[in-house]
């Protein structure tokens, strides 16, 4: 089985978000970049398929040279090879088209992507990729087993979960649940050393349209001060929620 894990290079979850160039660009100054958390759960599940079922695991990202430390980390965790498509990922459909080219050329059976990136939150790349290639697709995937050509997946739905049966080739949009938080791996020194020897192939993008463009960004309006209620006067909170906030 040949697996491709799609990795997005995103600001660490603790990052403060600021914008620059007249609020038209995300300000990367002082920001630490990491593997998108939803993708990291998928990468870790892919490592399980590698170790238990002998799968080959490649990783791919669409981004400039500045994303290479993030993709090297994926190699240090245990992926066999990496591909970087040398383009700025400014639109979900554009990224899906780039990934479709990589999947076509690499002959992958299973593509594991995150449900969404935690920066632009588009949540569209996995589904677009699957549709472009006519592969099966399961979103918000919280469990995945592969047996030969058959796949059994769990999908998170609003208020519960759904068990799904399908076949390879398959694309999933994964999230926590594919593996647990405690299963995530911190690369060790040996992994980091080995990652330096592994192939990181840079490919140029194919032409693709960008049907959406972010014009301007803004930060949420600053919050007013909290109204404190005394712990001995809880009835006052009920009163405020009813008469002032009008939410009960």
């Amino acid at each position: 089985m040949k697996i491709l894990v799609c990795i997005s290079n995103v600001p660490d979850t603790t990052s403060k978000i600021n914008f620059t160039e007249g609020d038209t660009k995300f300000d990367t100054n002082g920001v630490q970049f990491v593997i998108n958390p939803n993708d990291e759960f998928g990468l870790t599940r892919a490592m399980w398929f590698k170790e238990k079922q002998g799968a080959a695991v490649h990783v791919v990202t669409v981004g400039g040279a500045q994303t290479e430390p993030t993709i090297r980390k994926a190699l240090a965790i245990g992926a066999d090879e990496a591909i970087r498509v040398n383009a700025e990922p400014t639109d979900g459909f554009f990224v899906a088209k780039q990934l479709a080219e990589v999947v076509k050329n690499g002959g992958y059976d299973l593509v594991i992507a995150g449900r969404e990136s935690i920066d632009y939150n588009g949540g569209m790349v996995p589904g677009m990729l699957a549709t472009l290639l006519d592969m099966n697709f399961v979103n918000t995937c919280i469990g995945l087993e592969i047996d030969g050509n058959n796949a059994t997946a769990m999908r998170e739905i609003d208020g519960g979960k759904e068990k799904i049966s399908t076949t390879l080739p398959l694309v999933i949009g994964g999230q926590k649940g594919l593996v647990q938080e405690s299963d995530l791996r911190i690369p060790n020194m040996r992994g980091i050393m080995m990652a330096r020897q592994k192939a990181l192939n840079v490919v140029e993008p194919v032409d693709a349209p960008q049907p959406t463009q972010d014009q301007k960004f803004e930060k949420p309006a600053p919050k007013g001060a909290v109204k404190l209620v005394d712990a001995d006067n809880v009835g006052e909170l009920v009163n405020l929620l009813h008469n002032e906030a009008k939410v009960i």
Binding site: L132, K163, T212, K219
Partner: protein
């Protein structure tokens, strides 16, 4: 040329978000000088959508579509969009809408923007405001493709009734076997309890509650309020509560009218995930907890004393206002 809207239902009954997306579609249709066509799947009371601004319903009645199937539903919606010549398609932010949106968008060569929080800034060019960076910011995004697909954030626009009426036409999309290559085997859905996705009120517990055995009062508080229960990331990582309850940047987003955080300090990731909630209440014994900076109302105190008192006061309130 109408605006098309996907109105979701469960076992024949429209979900709350169906009325909100219909209301939003009505606003967009007014801006564009056109009308709203809704697509329904095995729904019971199709004509009721008229009250929310829908002029025409394309009613799909098909046993094979009884359980949601993203590809088949996307195929049906694409055919409806083509039949109507729709240039704008409105979806919700439910798990189902987010599943089918990229499939539908790709089939139609459209442009898709999810997490939209307001009526379009302008319709020519077509620009919408959406959340980005997991609610730590907003983007104003132009859709330049001919067909525009919009995913509306829940509780962002609200439900608007206008007393109109809708004509109901039956619609039979042609579906292929390939549409059903991803099969639902079993659906395990909590019944009779509000879900985080569509609850008006969410009651959430953190590590300050000390252990899973103390969740009784959280559930009782949620019960009194008709609320959904949620938890912080450490609580789900520790296995005190199921992952489906984890709210925050890497968990579920919350956009309820009222969010009550109990024993949650308010890590930046958690605050981002719940920031779309309209009113936030924090109960925590640490006055320095970051959540107090993000909340509208707060009580500094021991949750084990405050919450039972709050339950009692709410029961009194409910009895008086019943």
């Amino acid at each position: 040329m109408s605006v098309l809207v996907y109105t979701e239902s469960l076992k024949g009954k429209f979900k709350k978000n169906a009325f909100e997306v219909a209301s939003y579609a009505h606003k967009v249709a007014q801006d564009l000088g056109t009308s709203v066509t809704a697509v329904t799947f095995n729904a019971n009371d199709d004509a009721s959508l008229g009250n929310y601004g829908v002029s025409k319903v394309l009613k799909i009645a098909n046993d094979k579509l009884e359980t949601f199937n993203a590809k088949a539903y996307a195929d049906a919606l694409a055919q409806a969009a083509q039949a109507e010549g729709a240039k704008v398609i409105i979806l919700s932010s439910s798990a189902d809408s987010k599943f089918l949106a990229p499939i539908l968008t790709t089939k139609l060569n459209a442009g898709y923007v999810p997490n939209v929080v307001a009526a379009p800034d302008s319709t020519s060019p077509f620009v919408v405001k959406r959340t980005a960076f997991s609610n730590k910011g907003f983007a104003h995004t132009e859709i330049s493709a001919d067909i525009k697909v919009i995913g509306l954030s829940s509780n962002a626009f609200g439900v608007v009734e206008n007393g109109g009426s809708a004509a109901v036409d039956s619609f039979s999309p042609s579906l292929s076997d390939g549409d059903f290559a991803v099969k639902s085997v079993e659906v395990d859905r909590v019944v009779g309890k509000a879900t985080i996705a569509d609850a008006d009120i969410v009651v959430s517990g953190g590590r300050g509650l000390k252990g899973p055995e103390n969740w009784g009062m959280i559930e009782e508080l949620a019960d009194v309020l008709g609320a959904a229960t949620a938890c912080s990331k450490p609580v789900s990582d520790l296995g005190w509560r199921p992952h489906g309850e984890h709210v925050g940047q890497t968990g579920k987003p919350v956009a309820s009218n009222l969010y009550i955080a109990i024993g949650i300090s308010g890590a930046i990731q958690h605050l981002a995930g719940v920031s779309a909630s309209k009113t936030k209440v924090v109960i925590n014994n640490d006055p320095e907890a970051p959540f107090f900076k993000a909340a509208d109302y707060g009580i500094v105190g021991d949750a084990f004393e405050v919450v039972p008192k709050l339950i009692e006061k709410l029961k009194e309130f409910k009895a008086q206002n019943a």
